[in-house]
Amino acid sequence: METILEVNNVIKQFGGFTALSEVNLHVNKGERLGLIGPNGSGKTTLINCISGAYTDYQGSIRFDGGDITLLKAHERTKRGIARSFQIPRPFSSMTVMENLLVPFAFVGGKDGPEQQKEAMAILQGMGLAEKAFVQSNQLSQVELRKMELARAMAAKPKLLISDEAMAGLSGTEVDEVLEILFDLNKLGITIIMIEHIMQAVMKFSQRVVCLDAGKIICEGTPEIIVKNPEVQRAYLGD
């Protein structure tokens, strides 16, 4: 198994508050990794460090054979790391298609008719094809979530980080998004999923990592994690 992402001894502080203390994480190519932890445990901070939203942390991060520690977010995207946001951030003045053309233009370098066809294919895979020319600020919640994933796909990533893509969705909608993520993984994309919906995480992940108060407290298969007393304490309190 080849390592695609290495997070080495990452420490992130905000003023006097330590959000991440010496986090070490390896992710294998093609893996489905679940990242869980109670609110405030540092999940989104960790993701922000990996995606490059934060670049002022200690430690190092290696991706796909190269050191990306100091790279800005857009440079990491060009190297193959894509993410969706907890609260969707559509380019609201643009149509769905135009949203996807942004990563095509800036990561792939082209946004012509060929890319538009590719974009349509991505949208079809997500069930969004009919909304391609609708302005993105008119989409429903689940459609916005799907568009986030579609836009991340337009960047042709090797690693996709899904940040609570299912929060607030109904049962069937959760299944829809889960299926999309499974399909993407079948294409060979490594996926890190952050979720609070435990069934989804357990169903999806090959391996789960649990964070609490900025530290990794447990790592293993879903079955192991669920039975781990540390994890139970983190979620339910003493």
Partner: protein, 290 residues
């Protein structure tokens, strides 16, 4: 070079001036520092307060009393402003940045031009027993009007700092800028809290405006230089820091005073704006910011 005496006098004057600058920036510290509203119309409302004081004082009432009397009116104006801003801009997301800024900038100009149309471009002053004479201690002269402004400024700063740390509403205001969710859980309505904060910020402007016209003559275009002074103080202090406002004001006051003494009054406007740019470039979170 300059004598120690001259420098000392400049510093003393700077302290008085600085306290005054802190007081006129308090409203902005709340509106922009705590609530994150791009309240560039703050200096224009300050000048408006001065002109209202001028008009009211024509009836013979002492200017400071005028300022205090105007506070409830300005409180209501502030609530109205925030309500309007919230309904029109904050509620509908996206692109609020440009529209909100453009709105307050436009209001600034409208206020300034209306003042010109009504009062003309000439300077206006008020009269009071303490304006015109000075307190003499040894070789130094402290104009009474500066001392009065200093006193009021100090009182205002202390009052606001206590309000924000001791009362429920005050602490809620401090909290709402950082964590609206938590506030909702406590049963407080964030919108009402922000309204209150804005009302207070604008009410403070009324009294600050009175101080402004006590300290010196005012003219409609003064809001422009006060954009520099007030934003300099707020940025220097650091967003969200009330007590920092006083320190920042003092820094600006002393800096301006010394520059005026060394290079002349024509360089004074550049001090606040220059200091502002310096802070933005070197340490944008200010001296005490979060």
């Amino acid at each position: 070079m300059f004598s120690v005496d001259l420098i000392f006098e400049a510093v003393l004057f700077g302290i008085l001036l600085g306290c005054f600058y802190a007081a006129v920036s308090l409203g902005l510290s709340v509106a922009f520092g705590l609530l994150d509203v791009p309240y560039v119309a703050h200096p224009a409302l300050l000048i408006l307060g001065s002109y209202f004081t001028f008009v009211l004082s024509q009836t013979g009432i002492d200017p400071i009393v005028c300022g205090v009397l105007l506070m409830p009116i300005f409180f209501l104006i502030g609530i109205g402003f925030y309500r309007f801003y919230y309904e029109t801009f904050e509620k509908r997301s996206s692109d609020t940045g440009v529209r909100g800024l453009a709105f307050f900038f436009g209001m600034s100009f409208i206020i300034e031009v209306c003042l010109i149309l009504v009062f003309g471009v000439d300077q206006r002053t008020v009269v009071a027993s303490y304006i015109g004479s000075s307190l003499e201690i040894g070789d130094y002269r402290f104009p009474y009007r500066m001392l009065v402004a200093f006193g009021i400024a100090l009182a205002l700063t202390v009052a606001l700092t206590l309000y924000f740390s001791k009362t429920f509403n005050g602490r809620a205001i401090k909290a709402v800028g950082q964590d609206e969710g938590a506030l909702r859980l406590m049963g407080a309505n964030p919108v009402k809290i922000k309204q209150l904060a804005f009302g207070i910020a604008t009410a403070v402007n009324a009294l600050a405006g009175a101080m402004l016209i006590i300290v010196g003559p005012v003219e409609p275009a003064m809001d422009r230089i006060y954009i520099g002074r007030t934003f300099c103080v707020v940025v220097l202090a650091g967003l969200g820091s009330m007590s920092g406002t006083l320190v920042a004001g003092l820094v600006l006051g002393i800096a301006e005073s010394i520059v005026m003494m060394t290079f002349g009054a024509s360089w004074a406007p550049a001090v606040s704006f220059g200091l502002l740019l310096l802070m933005l470039g070197v340490r944008p979170q200010g001296l005490f910011g979060r």
